[in-house]
């Protein structure tokens, strides 16, 4: 706090004595200023950088390329996830266009833990178990690996899988962006290797329109 150095009156004309001045500097304004600056920086700082989820879309087919270069995928492996408005969700395996019809019919499910995730985990059991066991070993210190090596191993496991599901994510009318992100996220949670976001066929649009 500021000190008032009082002038000593009287003793006029006497020898000027060097007064003992205290070496205190009043730091209050400095502290005030610093407080202000700190508050400013704290409020404007963006500590956590935004997180991103990387998705790769299939390249659109070349219009000039008439030769069909479509890859055949085994029907029993394909799981179609149909996203409809009002947070409704359906799934079926196989293809609607095949002569025998879809492998399992269009069934309603939901975004909860016991909904779609249960189905996906069940279908992707092998890969999921392998990856989780690997992660577990690394965590417990049985296996010592760098993070990048672990990621590569996980990629290898996903790639080497020949029986796991291939997911086709299809969004219909009224689907929100949140729904798509949730489903893609579910792929990451369930360690699913192959999935794609594709357009819905008219047949599927018809089905989800009339479905409960």
């Amino acid at each position: 706090m500021g000190e008032i150095i009082q002038e000593e009156s009287g003793k006029k004309g006497s020898k000027t004595k060097a007064k003992k001045q205290s070496t205190h500097i009043d730091m209050t304004p400095m502290v005030d200023l610093m407080c202000l600056l700190i508050t400013f920086f704290m409020l404007t700082t963006a500590f956590s950088k935004p997180k991103v989820m990387v998705i790769t879309m299939p390249e659109p087919p070349d219009k000039n390329d008439t030769a069909k270069s479509q890859i055949k995928i085994p029907e029993f492996r394909t799981i179609n996830i149909l996203i409809s408005g009002d947070n409704k969700l359906y799934w079926y395996t196989g293809s609607l266009d095949s002569k025998t019809g879809p492998v399992t019919p269009v069934t309603k499910t939901n975004y909860s833990k016991d909904g779609l995730r249960k189905i996906l985990l069940e279908k992707n059991k092998d890969v999921f178990t392998q990856i989780e066991e690997l992660k577990d070993k690394v965590k417990k210190g049985v296996l010592v690996m760098a993070d990048s090596t672990v990621n590569n191993k996980i990629k290898e496991i996903k790639k080497g899988d020949k029986k796991g599901p291939i997911i086709l994510i299809k969004a219909g009318d009224g689907a929100k962006y949140r729904n798509i992100v949730d489903i893609v996220d579910e792929m990451a949670i369930c360690n699913i290797g192959s999935y794609a976001i594709v357009d819905m066929s008219p047949k599927e649009l018809e089905i989800i329109k009339t479905a409960p």
């Binding site: 209050t28 935004p50 997180k51 991103v52 990387v54 995730r117 059991k125 689907a175 962006y177 798509i180």
Partner: protein
């Protein structure tokens, strides 16, 4: 017995340690700070488990707000002396037969996201009134192709891709945005040969263990 007289002291607090601490904190914040860029719209992003960090340089961001308006931002790249933003605006002006003064171009280089038709850009750059600026941005960047030529968003993406080859694409969409508009933006990006996107999300942990499948 004589009373003991307490000497009258000014209540002085030694503030040196406090100042020391403040100075330390201040230095820390000043060094670590990266300013939150001003964004044209407030966007509530969806949650995901991904903990990958967004690249902080060479990034082109497309914002989609909950009512489906599209905003755009491109940074100056790793080396800000390259002035990508200036080049991009000049090229856009060329595409649309518009003229921007040097002052306007310089101003554009320092700004961040925007969402308005290119014909209003001049007005937007001249204006200093936040209300006026907001009014100009009320419709976002046009995404529909008009008069037989691609949409303005297509041009922005195209020019940005040509000028800064290394730029990556991030989509910051509102969770409640319609997927249709997101799809439209993705289609425009794919027309520009962008097939990999960074979707900006909030981190939300989700644990699944082996026990869940037993």
């Amino acid at each position: 017995m004589p009373k003991i007289k307490m000497p009258v002291k000014t209540p002085h607090v030694d503030m040196t340690p406090m100042v020391d601490l403040f100075a330390l904190l201040l230095t820390f914040f000043m060094l670590t700070t990266s300013f939150r860029p001003q964004e044209a719209a407030i966007i509530d992003t969806p949650n995901s488990v991904s903990d990958k960090q967004a690249p902080d340089k060479n990034i082109m961001t497309i914002f989609i707000d909950s009512i489906g308006h599209v905003y755009f931002n491109i940074d100056n790249g790793k080396d800000s002396s390259k002035h990508y933003r200036k080049d991009i605006l000049l090229k856009m002006a060329e595409n649309y037969n518009l003229k921007f003064s040097e002052k306007q171009v310089n101003k554009f280089a320092t700004l961040s996201s925007f969402g308005l038709p290119i014909k209003d850009m001049s007005k937007w750059l001249n204006s200093d009134d936040p209300k006026e600026k907001e009014r100009l941005q009320k419709n976002g960047i046009p995404t529909d192709s008009a008069e037989g030529r691609p949409s303005e968003l297509w041009y922005w993406i195209n020019v940005s891709r040509v000028k800064n080859v290394d730029s990556e694409v991030a989509i910051k969409g509102a969770a409640s945005a319609d997927y249709k508009i997101v799809k439209k933006v993705i289609d425009i990006l794919q027309e520009n040969k962008v097939n990999k996107f960074n979707l900006v999300t909030n981190l939300q942990k989700e644990e699944v263990s082996l026990n869940d499948i037993k």
